[in-house]
């Protein structure tokens, strides 16, 4: 009995020791950290206020996509594709890409917190959820860290949002592209991402509005592929069975359109059911070549990241505040004006087809 209890107590020691160690160091260094992190925003930045057009250099900028291992974000963020980190390098800042691996707030938040702990001056975030990140992002902004969102917004807790294209324009142009292919009439369906995905839901809202212009087209169903190839495949197959007269499908998500294209890429459906949506050129090259997909849209993710990086640095250098009407120059992309809701638009969605797809490698 005594030996056993002694053993148990002996074990409790390391646990208590760890916690005590942490508490001790925290009470002495917490003030040090808080002292370090807020001036860090200005300290690191003020290391040289020279450089291009009064922009600060030496800033620590963290690019935090929805998840790592996603080729869309790799293109948007990395240096060799000309994305965000390329811009940061050119401006003399230190750019790092970090995130979790599962595109959920639970996976992204620790990465944001770590970035803050490492003394970030600016965060460029593609939000996995419009509101779940807010407590973390707000605490960042309270410390004077610039928070900019790109690709996917968290509207209430950032200073600026870099939108790839106007939400309305993405929605309406998708419908217009499909209408052109199916002769303005017929049944259509939407294969979306997760049921709660903000961007997709916003675009679908505009799609439904635009459909009113085409009275002979009916949206028979919206299904959710959850950005998982197996689910997206099965929901597409289900559509084909449920609606034998289906004329067209819009899939405003790269995983969805790739899966749908693989399903439709047979003699039976190719050309009979039109497919469009948001896809990356590399994923769509085969399907454009064999006629499964005629036109699809996207934007250049690298340019999106590049623009977001410039916006973040402009903000962090105090040259703009992100309010509507302000302008800034984004390196090789030229000059941009901030629009309503502190949003900057990259440009209109780009339409890819067989005539231009070969030029792109992402």
């Amino acid at each position: 009995m005594n030996l056993r209890r002694a053993r148990k107590l002996a074990l409790a020691v390391p646990v208590v020791a760890t916690v005590a160690l942490a508490a001790c160091s925290s009470s002495s260094s917490s003030s040090a950290t808080t002292a370090a992190s807020s001036p860090a925003a200005t300290a690191a930045g003020s290391s040289s206020a020279a450089a291009s057009g009064g922009l600060k250099t030496g800033l620590k900028v963290f690019v935090i996509p929805k998840n790592l291992g996603n080729s869309y974000f790799t293109t948007a963020d990395s240096a060799n594709s000309g994305g965000a980190i390329a811009a940061l390098d050119a401006l003399g800042e230190t750019g790092t890409e970090t995130s979790g691996t599962s595109a959920t707030p639970a996976s992204q938040i620790p990465a944001i917190q770590a970035a803050i702990a490492k003394g970030a001056n600016a965060l460029i975030v593609s939000a996995t959820d419009p509101t779940a990140l807010c407590p973390t992002l707000e605490s960042a902004m309270k410390r004077g860290i610039t928070v900019v969102t790109y690709d996917s917004d968290a509207p209430t807790c950032r200073t600026m949002f870099i939108n790839q294209a106007s939400t309305a324009q993405i929605g309406t142009s998708e419908v217009d592209v499909l209408a052109k292919e199916i002769g303005d009439s017929g049944q259509i369906a939407i294969v979306s991402a997760a049921a709660s995905a903000t961007n997709q839901n916003a675009w679908i809202g505009y799609m439904k509005q635009e459909l009113k212009k085409y009275p002979k087209m009916t949206l028979v169903s919206t299904v959710y592929g959850n950005d998982d190839p197996t689910t997206a495949t099965q929901v597409t197959q289900g559509l084909l069975q449920q609606y034998p007269n289906l004329k067209g499908i819009i899939s405003p998500t790269t995983v969805g359109i790739a899966a749908a294209a693989a399903v439709l890429d047979t003699a039976k459906y190719r050309g009979k059911i039109a497919l469009t949506g948001l896809g990356t050129p590399d994923e769509m090259k085969k399907y454009v070549a064999d006629g499964t997909v005629k036109e699809f849209e996207l934007w250049n993710p690298a340019n999106l990241g590049y623009l977001a990086a410039y916006a973040a640095v402009e903000l962090a250098s105090g040259k703009i505040t992100g309010a509507a009407g302000q302008t800034f120059t984004a390196g090789k992309l030229g000059s941009y004006t901030v629009g309503a809701d502190n949003t900057v638009l990259l440009g209109p969605p780009y339409v890819f087809s067989s005539s231009n797809i070969a030029q792109f490698n992402f």
Partner: protein, 330 residues
């Protein structure tokens, strides 16, 4: 009955303690390496964030420990979390007062656990299979409740859970950490110092013997599942307030992490062995690894590899002693 359970306790605790010692060393190592590699590691702020990110998972490991020691498993934990979160959002959006919502969510959580328990004990279905089914069912109910919607207008009084530290504890303790510590003590006492806890070990080690010894195996297992349901719904409420977001995919995929932590603690998957101190250490190890990898510039993708390697260590190292003895004897 007490005689039988006394005999079950002694050897179990002995071998478990050996692994816990090793685990304690691992935890200290992780924290040492982490703080050496990054000055930000042992800061109060970082520990606060650690508590925030891992609080709910940590809380869910507690009932899971008891369930696994009793010889079962509950893979539906993350889905009960998600379902509670969705229910919370659903009712709030319809104007229910918060106290009524808390009661409803708690009751639904207990009911979800009861369903698991009844299917396992009355229909004698294997808990691995049952909880894979309820994993899908409860997540599905969450989806039915909220659909594509997100509820994110909870009053700041509650959402401050995710922002403020507990008052009077300095700036480092999150509410979820505090709740975890309190619950860990409660579960620890129950498991290690009550007849109820001893009977859990007994039924895990040998269900038939326990039954013959007069232990009400079915009732206790059902209670364990109900407790798990309740705790997971509590975790769901904490999660929702911390993120100020109720959405159908809250907590998606967490069940394997919870199981991994409990296994890492040296709790035997066959039942009958393990200790709660081990679970607390394993929570520290798990959280510490993730955090250390993030803070240093070590590849974050390695988190899974490190977790997997530790899991392997948790089953091989305790056996290593036995091996050497066997080798030296042959």
């Amino acid at each position: 009955m007490s005689n039988l359970t006394e005999r079950f306790r002694a050897p179990q605790l002995q071998s478990a303690l050996r692994w816990e010692t090793g685990l304690a060393v691992v935890v200290i190592l992780i924290f040492a390496i982490g703080s050496a590699a990054s000055p930000d590691f042992l800061t109060g702020n970082n520990l606060f964030n650690l508590g925030l990110s891992n609080g709910e998972i940590a809380i869910m490991t507690l009932p899971m420990t008891l369930i696994i020691i009793s010889g079962e498993i509950d893979l539906s934990v993350a889905s009960i979390l998600g379902m509670s979160s969705a229910l919370l959002g659903f009712l709030w959006a319809r104007g229910w007062p918060m106290p009524a919502i808390f009661v409803t969510v708690a009751v639904v959580g207990v009911a979800a656990g009861a369903v698991n328990g009844l299917l396992v004990t009355r229909l004698r279905l294997p808990s691995l299979a049952v909880t894979i089914g309820t994993l899908a069912l409860y997540r599905g109910i969450a989806t039915i409740l909220l659909g594509p919607n997100t509820v994110s207008d909870f009053p700041t009084a509650y959402t401050n859970l995710g922002v403020n530290a507990v008052p009077f504890t300095g700036n480092d303790m999150t509410y979820s950490t505090l709740i975890f510590i309190v619950l860990a003590i409660v579960f620890g006492v129950v498991l290690h110092a009550t007849p109820f806890g001893r009977s859990i070990y007994a039924m895990g080690a040998s269900p038939e013997a326990a039954q013959f010894a007069g232990i009400r195996v079915k009732r206790i297992k059902t209670i364990l599942f109900m407790v798990s349901g309740f705790i997971c719904s509590l975790a769901g409420v904490l999660w929702t307030f911390r993120l100020n977001t109720a959405v159908q995919n809250n907590g998606l995929g967490l069940e394997l992490s919870v199981v991994a932590i409990v296994l890492l603690a040296g709790v035997s998957i066959f039942g009958g062995k393990g200790s709660l101190i081990g679970v607390v250490l394993a929570v520290l190890a798990f959280a510490g690894i993730q955090n250390a990898l993030l803070l240093t510039n070590f590849n974050q993708e390695a988190t899974g590899i490190v977790t997997g390697a530790l899991l392997l260590a948790s089953v091989f190292l305790p056996n290593a002693g036995r091996w050497f003895r066997r080798l030296s004897h042959s």
